[in-house]
Each structure stands twice: as structure tokens, then as C-alpha cells.
């Protein structure tokens, strides 16, 4: 089976036109930038604070926007049209993720500029951020596929946003209750850990484990997305 970039790009182009007429989504994208501008003015030093903004972008732009885009395709019965077209599962999922992915990365770059986040090793941090973006888009896709309408999706995504965007607040609890140790392995905490180590001068050899954990999460979500998507092809 060959992968047709043309079909994925057609879906991206369609989504772009659609979203540019959708005020609801475009304002959601701008929200984290407002927050970044405020933090930037206050002047922040701590990595954790930069990542509060970045995690907010992951939750709002990657997961939430993606979730609404997918849920709307379901609600309006357009997803079935894509599924019945010659486009393959991969072409559709890839095309359908491009807009959220590009927006996420663009907003993170602008936000980093606004908050003055300048990682010591842009390549490693960039890789980790790109992988995380794919993970959150996967989470958004999954929830979008599982819910029936944009409304339902906006409710279901709230707890997910809580866990992932305020993850770093959980660290004190982990120290208190060892049962919660697994929380450390959440991709958001792994990303912050990686970013902190990079600032302390760590190289790829030191942080590969954190990257690997994020890759495992991403792969797991992707496998789930494909499984649920295949189910959704049939009533």
C-alpha cells in the first residue's frame, strides 16, 4: 500500500479553510499565547514555569483542538465520507492531525519566544516536544473518536487536561504517597525532567530514557487510535 501525501494534504487544506472560519477553535489557539505574554512580562526563570505554558499548549491546542476537529467530523457525519473514500486509515489520520500539529509547534515556538525559554540543547528538547505533540494529538484523536459530539468531547477532555497540564503539581504527592510513583512516568513529567536535565548540561546519552518513555506512550496511543478508528468504520 502506497501512502498518498496528496490526500493527506487535501485534508489539511480542508481543515485549514474550515478552522479559519471557526472562531471557537481559533480563539482556543490564541489563549495560551496570551498567558505566555503575561508570564513573559513577569519574567520567569524556572523551567517548570515555561513548561506550564507548554503543557497548556499541549492540552489546549494539541489535544483539545484535535479532539474537537475529530468530534465535529463525527457529529456532522463527514468522517464516514472520508472513511468510505479511497484514502487509507494512515492517510486520513495523518492528514487529520497535520493542522493541530503545525499549530501546536508554531504556538510553542511563539510562546517560548514570549516567555524567554531558550533551551541549552534545542535539538534534544525539540525532539522531545515534537514527540509529545504527537502523543497529545493522539490523545485528542482518541477522545474525538470515542465521543459523539463536540459538546461531549469538550466535557470528556477536561479530566485529561487536568492530569496532563497540571502534572508537575503532583510531584509533592508522589513523594508523600509512593503508590503514586507511576505518575512520574507520565509523558508530561518525563518531558519536564528531560528539559531540566538538558538545562543542567545533559546530552542525549543522559536523557534517552525519558525520550524512550515518551516514545512508548506515543506508540501506545497511536495503536489505540488505529484500533478505535477501524471500529468506527462500521456501525
Amino acid at each position: 500500500m502506497t501512502f498518498s501525501m496528496k490526500r493527506s494534504m487535501a485534508i489539511l487544506y480542508k481543515d485549514y479553510k474550515d478552522v479559519s472560519k471557526n472562531l471557537y477553535v481559533s480563539t482556543t489557539v490564541l489563549l495560551p499565547l496570551v498567558m505566555a505574554a503575561i508570564y513573559g512580562r513577569m519574567g520567569i526563570e524556572a523551567i517548570d514555569t515555561h513548561y506550564m505554558v507548554i503543557n497548556m499548549i499541549f492540552s489546549l491546542v494539541a489535544a483539545y483542538v484535535q479532539c474537537s476537529l475529530i468530534a465535529e467530523e463525527k457529529e456532522k457525519n463527514t468522517l464516514r465520507g472520508l472513511m468510505l473514500s479511497p484514502a487509507s486509515t494512515l492517510e486520513i489520520l495523518f492528514g487529520k492531525s497535520l493542522l493541530s500539529f503545525i499549530s501546536t509547534i508554531a504556538v510553542i515556538i511563539i510562546a517560548a519566544f514570549l516567555t524567554g525559554y531558550n533551551p541549552d540543547n534545542v535539538i534534544i528538547v525539540g525532539m522531545a516536544i515534537i514527540l509529545s505533540a504527537v502523543f497529545y494529538i493522539g490523545v485528542g484523536t482518541l477522545l474525538g473518536l470515542l465521543t459523539k459530539s463536540v459538546m461531549e468531547a469538550s466535557v470528556v477532555i477536561l479530566p485529561i487536561m487536568m492530569i496532563f497540564s497540571f502534572g508537575s503539581f503532583l510531584t509533592p504527592f508522589i513523594e508523600k504517597y509512593p503508590v503514586l510513583k507511576f505518575i512520574e512516568y507520565l509523558p508530561n513529567l518525563q518531558l519536564i525532567e528531560l528539559a531540566n536535565q538538558v538545562e543542567a548540561g545533559a546530552g542525549l546519552a543522559d536523557v534517552w530514557f525519558h525520550l524512550a518513555v515518551i516514545i512508548v506512550w506515543t506508540a501506545a496511543v497511536f495503536a489505540l487510535v488505529v484500533a478505535v478508528y477501524k471500529k468506527r468504520m462500521m456501525d
Partner: protein
């Protein structure tokens, strides 16, 4: 003649409730096949099984000679066009942009958009957002999208239910042109005139099975009851046999100068529908 669709003893249960119990029929290449039946008789269910959107409980459904559930391959997708009640459009996008996406998905050149919009009489509207369209216009866009890629087999689930008579006629012409070009059409409708106008053969689905299957003409002959209705000057109507038995009666009325009109009782498809299903049209 080659069969494009072959359905054998098809059954579909929705949690123990039967929608289809024992449905068998074939659709030949190039024919327009009318799939008729009361509301809830399982027409849409059958289309969904035939287009791999629903799995059957039992029986066989072959399309292009392969199991319908295996139609997910690109080559088959390109051969099939579908219009059902779950064919949605992107409401914020224009008609043109909706069809443009499908051109790219089906590898069809953009110039085809104007061709199909001509067929559904929407050329002048193509820059309009779908959310601004009337119900009938929306239905015509969905229809245009169904045959955008010139499919060999077209499933149309009530394609004209929201259309005015002028547009309906225009669509009939378009569908007849498609048939001329060899397209096989699987059509469901509640409009018996539509079935009569478009279909080579019609099947009546009721109580989970096909009750009748033939050309509209053959069915009318089969159900003809060989009677005349004689309308009399006093307003009453008398049914008279067409054979010698009725000759004397008609002669008597005629001699008495009592007849307003006489007509032959040819059943319409609608009459046959009511007789076969025992139900009124939805």
C-alpha cells in the same frame, strides 16, 4: 448478464431484533435497481451492509464478486459511489471546497466539479457555504459528490426526498445519462413514480425478506385485475369485468345514457406496494 451485486439469505439482527431475515437478490451490471419497502423495512441497513458500513449477522453479500466486508481496498472504493442519510458535508466550506476535497481523495481532476454541479443544477451556487443552502440544495450537493468520481456502482438512498419537481426531473435526466454510460444504480425511494420512471427492476422488501422482484411493467401486468370502473351519472361507481361477463352490464348502462366515464383498473406500483406490504406509503 454479469451480476454486480449478489445477496444470498442475508440476515441482520440488532440485538435480537430482526431487521433483515432472509434477503436474496441480484443486481445486474448496468441496471437501475429499485429497492422499495416501508419505512423501517431494512433498506438503509442493506445498503450499509453492501458498502461495508455494517456487518451482517448471517448470509452472503457480494459486490463486484467479493465479500462486501472486503471492499475497503482503494480499487473498490473508487468504483463505488454512496449517498445515504449519513453522508455529511462540511457546513462552513463552500460547495466547491467540499467537492474539491473529494476530487483530491478520489484522484479526480478539479474540472469534474463543474460537470457534476451542472448535473444537479448548482453551478451558480458553487461559492456558497453549505450552511447557507436549503435542504434540497444540500441534498443535490451530496448527490453530486456521490457520482463525482464516475463510479461503476452507485448507491442512492432516497436521493430526491427533499427536491422540488423541477429539480427532481433534472436529476432523473442526470441519472438516466449515468445509466446510459453503464453505471449500475441501486436506488431506494418512497416515491413509486420515481421507481417506475427510473428502474429496470424493483424489489419489494417487507418483513425481512424480498416479497416481489420484477420489472415495473411485469408487476403491473401480474397485478392487473382485469376490471373496468364505470362512473355513473348519479355519482356511483361500478366495477365491471373486462371480459364477456361485463359486456352486458356496460351495454345496459350505455343504453340508459348513464355513463360519465369508463377506465381500466391498471394498478400503479403504489397500489402493488400497498397490496404487498399491507401498509400505506410512508
Amino acid at each position: 448478464m454479469e451480476n454486480i451485486i449478489e445477496v444470498k439469505s442475508l440476515a441482520k439482527y440488532f440485538s435480537d431484533q430482526p431487521a433483515l431475515e432472509n434477503v436474496s437478490f441480484n443486481v445486474k451490471k448496468g441496471e437501475t435497481f429499485g429497492f422499495l419497502g416501508p419505512s423501517g423495512s431494512g433498506k438503509t441497513t442493506t445498503i450499509k451492509i453492501l458498502t461495508a458500513q455494517l456487518a451482517q449477522t448471517d448470509g452472503e453479500a457480494l459486490v463486484f464478486g467479493v465479500n462486501a466486508s472486503n471492499l475497503k481496498k482503494e480499487e473498490y472504493r473508487k468504483k463505488i459511489g454512496i449517498l445515504t442519510d449519513n453522508s455529511g458535508l462540511y457546513s462552513r466550506l463552500t460547495i466547491y471546497d467540499n467537492l474539491k476535497l473529494y476530487c483530491d481523495l478520489y484522484d479526480v481532476p478539479d474540472k469534474r466539479i463543474d460537470e457534476v454541479l451542472g448535473m444537479v443544477n448548482l453551478i451558480d451556487e458553487k461559492k456558497k457555504a453549505v450552511s447557507k443552502l436549503s435542504k434540497g440544495m444540500t441534498q443535490r450537493v451530496t448527490l453530486a459528490r456521490a457520482f463525482l468520481h464516475q463510479p461503476e456502482l452507485l448507491f442512492l438512498d432516497e436521493p430526491t426526498s427533499a427536491l422540488d419537481p423541477v429539480n427532481t426531473k433534472h436529476i432523473y435526466k442526470g441519472l438516466k445519462d449515468l445509466k446510459e454510460k453503464g453505471t449500475t444504480i441501486f436506488l431506494t425511494t418512497h416515491d413509486m413514480n420515481e421507481a417506475e420512471t427510473l428502474c429496470d427492476r424493483v424489489a419489494f422488501l417487507n418483513n425481512g425478506a424480498i416479497q416481489l422482484l420484477d420489472s415495473p411493467k411485469a408487476l403491473r401486468q401480474k397485478f392487473a385485475d382485469h376490471t373496468l370502473t364505470v362512473e355513473l351519472t348519479d355519482g356511483s361507481k361500478v366495477i365491471v369485468d373486462k371480459g364477456p361477463g361485463g359486456a352486458q352490464t356496460v351495454y345496459d348502462y350505455m343504453s340508459g345514457n348513464k355513463i360519465v366515464s369508463i377506465y381500466s383498473n391498471e394498478p400503479t406500483l403504489g397500489d402493488i406496494f400497498v397490496e404487498v406490504t399491507g401498509r400505506k406509503l410512508a
